[in-house]
Symmetry: C2
Subunit: 334 residues, 2 copies
Amino acid sequence: MRVEQIRGGVVEAVHEVHVAVVDSTGGLVARTGDPELVTFWRSAAKPFQALPLLEDGAAARFGLTSEELALACASHSSEPDQVARVRELLGKIGCSERDLLCGPHPPLSDRVAQDYQTRGLRLTAVYSNCSGKHAGMLALARHHGWPTEFYTRLEHPVQQRCLAEVSRWTEVGVGDIRTGVDGCGVVCYGLPLRNMALAYARLAIADFGLPIADSKGVRPIRSPQSAIVESMLRHPDLIAGEGRPCTEIMRAHPGRVIAKVGAEGVYCALLTQERLGIALKVADGHAVASALAMAAVLEELGLRPRPAGLTTRPNVNTRGETVGELRVKGGLEQ
Amino acid sequence: MRVEQIRGGVVEAVHEVHVAVVDSTGGLVARTGDPELVTFWRSAAKPFQALPLLEDGAAARFGLTSEELALACASHSSEPDQVARVRELLGKIGCSERDLLCGPHPPLSDRVAQDYQTRGLRLTAVYSNCSGKHAGMLALARHHGWPTEFYTRLEHPVQQRCLAEVSRWTEVGVGDIRTGVDGCGVVCYGLPLRNMALAYARLAIADFGLPIADSKGVRPIRSPQSAIVESMLRHPDLIAGEGRPCTEIMRAHPGRVIAKVGAEGVYCALLTQERLGIALKVADGHAVASALAMAAVLEELGLRPRPAGLTTRPNVNTRGETVGELRVKGGLEQ
């Protein structure tokens, strides 16, 4: 599978796509390119970085809402409502924006970015698309009594806890997971696409693994993964934001799919009814290509039709003329 | 050859590169990937879109300076001095900014873009990186008495004249050149990399072709291509702008190289002493990768060392931490 940019009937640029579709037992159901490709999971790992909040009892302790859990799994658009909710989460755990170690950046939504720029709004850490994840990590630290300083570092117990959780869901040993520093400063995980897909497929298995009791022996009533899945399914608007692909895909098929983008062309999804996990990587890291590819893969797996904005993407020049388009070519192999 | 993005010791993204190195007789001196790859020349065609100004006598008629010719070949940074010179060119030919049909866009230089944004400057057509090329096309129309309206369209005599010129230098028949609409609205040319490289190599041949007399029989004293090459060599600062790769490469090796970027990962160059033309394409269109690849190819062909900013490009995250780098792997094959 590849995503092609067409201009004047000529293929002007190509984006190669690697895909793994895996069932909850680890079986490779479909693929294209190299399903064993090792790359960084980036933001598509967020549901698994949020799971310890449920596993360890932090979510119950602090009374985290489904909105707050969804934001812990999100690459949000820095929309005012999203930012307000992260601030609320920080308040619940006795932290403030100053404790967040994510760096600021222009909102991932062009519309929001332009709005804030027009208003001269100063972008701080809480506006980072990862601020929900960071707030969740602070919640985990508070819950365990770990220091809230330097929580982004590999040696900090928060990152070690998340790394262990990622290892458990992906079946890649802790020592075999490559680590790097993510765009927001926390640890990111290098592992095969196939194992990322396996982890997503397992999210649909309510009895996968055993919830780990926290120090007080508290166990959640629902399985941790069910709480994460339900939170994400209930709040497609918080997972990304207005007009962005994850939100569009999840809104188009309510309850049937979780879609989660990662940086540098990574995209993961869970088909809830089929219990299939999908992980894809655009080899060169092209973000729009990865969203078009995910929509095409999901359509091939039964989620029809693709959201209108994700079938092709027009290439509009500085004069406002449509001079070409980005479109997916090829599909999955069994 | 490929350009790799490395994070935590893992290759996170790859950008495949196709290169053709050709001498002025059309011999393929070196290559990597597919030197016959057909793609759009985009802005790397500008010197050949400017040549009719010399060939047809428009440059002599209007007294165009070497700075103005350089800007006709440029993808400039919209620096105040560059914009002022384009305005002056327009004045010379009795046109105004309103005649320009290029669309506005944020300056290609981040520094300039930020400066104008801070100052609330309204970006108009003359700020387009292509405004020098468009002003040159208007000069050609004025010179021939062609209409200045709709000069961007394929059927307009300006575009037909440029197409014929591109055909002559590249040795691709007019009917075999694929056409599309460029980012700025004019015609762009789809042809093999090898033929793009040939055209650049021929720029170093003072007696290539015969200058075409204009309607008054005026012939320039120097060959048209010598005038273009000299104008570009004298004004590296106008070809792109402060801190941008074309300018950096040309400044690092004064008089020895012309480097010209095109959109979507295209980059061309002329080694003046060796009379070698180079055309490369990053398959996925990645711009930074194309500049790193060109610097590496030029170094391999004898232009040592690469400019400091074009050996590797650090990947800096939102916290200001260097978390990886972009670097070239592999080289040319004979």
